[in-house]
């Protein structure tokens, strides 16, 4: 009994150490973002004696524009990916037509193509289409690439739904689009939300693509913007760290509402290969 107690204590102790090490940098970031420059130099590790919210107003002026750009670009991409992939995934899962399997595998085979291969020609295409320095330079390729995995996941989910539901709707005279909107979408709601979160986070975090396609400062998304901000505020620690935190807030909000759902999805294997 005593031995089991020691074992249990050892497990808690190790986990707490790991958690402290994992989270300490973020804790340091938060307390430092509230310090003045003097306090940051003299009281490096401690709590701030005077909380400086001014850091946040200064950072907000620089970062808000980037957050706004990212919100537009990521939201539009997510809407387009979810709509296209759910509709196409539904058609491949529930209808038989000549060439279906060939077309489906043609899409899925793109999962094998790494971004490193396509980067350069993709840039040339976007340039030739005259999209450089517009939000579409990111939205369109993100949508295109995002569909692939999403179609794969949605297809396997919708294939697993019982045929009777669809048959009944067909007997009642519902068309392809009606069945999609009234039956397929409501039933696959959890999968669609997981796909939406994945793509929102994925596009929000993308650095390399916006870095090459968007050079206009006023159109920069958060990732590229915060790098520029980082060089401008290099020694101005308070606002610098406040800016890091502001750039994280949209994702934090998103996860507060959906984290449970997302974790459940991963834990229950909603996404299988």
């Amino acid at each position: 009994m005593n031995k089991a107690y020691i074992g249990e204590f050892f497990k808690h102790f190790s986990i707490i150490i790991l958690i402290l090490l994992t989270l300490y940098p973020f804790f340091f970031l938060i307390i430092s973002s509230l310090k003045s420059h003097e306090e940051f130099t003299h009281n490096f590790l401690g709590f701030p004696a005077h909380i400086r919210w001014v850091n946040y107003t200064a950072a907000w002026k620089a970062v808000s524009r980037y957050i706004y750009n990212s919100l537009i670009m990521s939201s539009l991409t997510v809407v387009m990916v979810v709509f296209l992939s759910s509709y196409v995934g539904y058609i491949f899962a529930r209808y038989k037509f000549p060439g279906r399997d060939f077309l489906f595998y043609a899409i899925i085979s793109l999962l094998m193509i790494p971004g490193a291969l396509t980067l350069i020609p993709q840039f040339i295409i976007v340039k030739n289409l005259g999209l450089l320095n517009t939000r579409w330079a990111c939205i369109l390729p993100w949508t295109s690439g995002g569909q692939i995995f999403a179609i794969f996941v949605i297809h396997s989910f919708m294939s697993s739904l019982p045929e009777e539901l669809f048959e009944a709707a067909r007997v009642d005279g519902a068309g392809i689009f009606q069945i999609y909107a009234r039956i397929a979408v409501p039933l696959s709601y959890p999968t669609l939300v997981t796909i939406a979160i994945m793509h929102f986070v994925g596009t929000w975090n993308d650095i390399i693509w916006p870095l090459v396609t968007i050079t206009k400062p006023e159109l920069r998304p958060v990732t590229v913007g915060i790098m520029a901000f980082n060089s401008a505020y290099y020694q101005n620690y308070g606002p610098l760290f406040a800016g890091y935190i502001l750039a994280s807030i949209p994702l934090v909000i998103l996860f507060i509402f959906t984290m449970r759902f997302y974790i459940q999805g991963l834990l229950s294997g909603a996404i299988k290969m």
């Binding site: 497990k11 808690h12 190790s14 986990i15 790991l18 958690i19 090490l21 994992t22 989270l23 940098p25 973020f26 970031l29 590790l45 296209l84 992939s85 509709y87 209808y95 037509f97 000549p98 077309l103 793109l110 094998m112 193509i113 790494p114 971004g115 490193a116 291969l117 396509t118 350069i120 020609p121 993709q122 840039f123 295409i125 369109l140 295109s144 569909q147 692939i148 392809i176 975090n205 650095i207 390399i208 870095l211 090459v212 958060v222 990732t223 915060i226 790098m227 890091y244 750039a247 994280s248 994702l251 998103l254 996860f255 984290m259 974790i263 991963l266 834990l267 294997g269 299988k272 290969m273």
Partner: protein
């Protein structure tokens, strides 16, 4: 006659084909065409604007004579080996520790804490580590308070330490995704296996080696493949923090491809690097699928 019925069948499904048009228009423009174009241009000297000249496999020959590319290959191999070792030890250890707790409420609390970093954008985490490594950064300040100031240095700016500093980013490396995948795997192991092994007198440590790890092979394989693919073609850390420097001490093939294309406008050379990376990733994926047999493939709840 048969052909006629096929055409009829296609005509009958015209609305279905029509609704696939947007998806394929996207994929043709932004995925198929660039992929084929990159393979094609890997055989050319190309500036991306107008000039292009067929040079056969000369780009690839030059690549392996290029000292920068050789350094990049060496660096990415070190990063990949380190990444693989890290991704199948620390997150698995954390998952085992959490899974084996008796107190379920604490288990839930710890799980949430481990997942918190997922809400922070990757670029912020990288910039934060950039600050930790600075000359006046957190790590050096801590070393100074511990009276180890002779060890202090700009960790990413020092030839000797830059690559290792990159490996050390994210310490203790409990990646939320990997952690959750392992935890899901552990939760899906049949309880009866544990119970019958207890009757046979197995200790928990024996269970870990003879039950948990064999049953988690699917998850381990998945994370192994994802880690290798991610590291082989990745250069986000370099873009944000080092640009491949100082010198070429943190240069990797992806970063070199980026520089070739967007700094020196050697687009054909860049495409050759991209093609090379594609080949390596394809090869590694096939090898690992063939030689690591596993019952489930992804986050298996089966």
């Amino acid at each position: 006659m048969r052909e006629n019925s096929l055409l009829k069948n296609i005509y009958k499904n015209k609305f279905i084909y029509l609704s696939l048009v947007p998806t394929f228009a996207f994929l043709l423009t932004f995925n198929y065409f660039p992929a084929i174009n990159a393979l094609y241009h890997s055989l050319f000297e190309w500036d991306g604007i107008g000039y292009e000249k067929f040079i056969g496999i000369n780009n690839f020959i030059n690549l392996f004579k290029d000292p920068v590319f050789i350094i990049a290959l060496k660096n990415v191999s070190i990063l990949a080996i380190a990444g693989v070792i890290i991704s199948i030890t620390f997150p698995l250890l954390a998952a085992e520790l959490t899974f084996n707790l008796r107190n379920l409420r604490m288990q839930y609390l710890y799980r949430t804490m481990f997942v918190v970093p997922m809400v922070v954008p990757g670029v912020v985490i990288l910039l934060l580590w950039g600050f930790i490594y600075r000359a006046d950064g957190l790590l050096n300040k801590i070393l100074i308070t511990m009276d180890l100031s002779n060890l202090a240095r700009p960790w990413l700016g020092d030839f000797k330490t830059a690559l290792y500093a990159i490996i050390f980013i994210g310490f203790p490396w409990i990646g939320s995704f990997n952690y959750l995948i392992y935890l899901a795997g552990l939760q899906s192991i049949n309880r009866e296996l544990f119970e019958s092994s207890i009757i046979d007198g197995a200790t928990r440590l024996q269970q870990i080696f003879y039950i948990d790890i064999p049953m988690l092979l699917g998850q381990i394989k998945l994370i192994l493949i994802l880690t290798i693919i991610g590291v082989m073609q990745g250069y986000t850390i370099q873009i944000v923090l080092t640009q491949g420097g100082p010198g070429y001490s943190t240069m990797v093939p992806g970063m070199y491809m980026y520089n070739s294309a967007f700094q020196y406008y050697k687009m054909g050379y860049g495409c050759a690097i991209g093609t090379f990376l594609f080949g390596v990733i394809l090869f590694l994926t096939i090898i690992s699928r063939k030689y690591i047999q596993a019952p489930t493939e992804f986050g298996g709840a089966k």
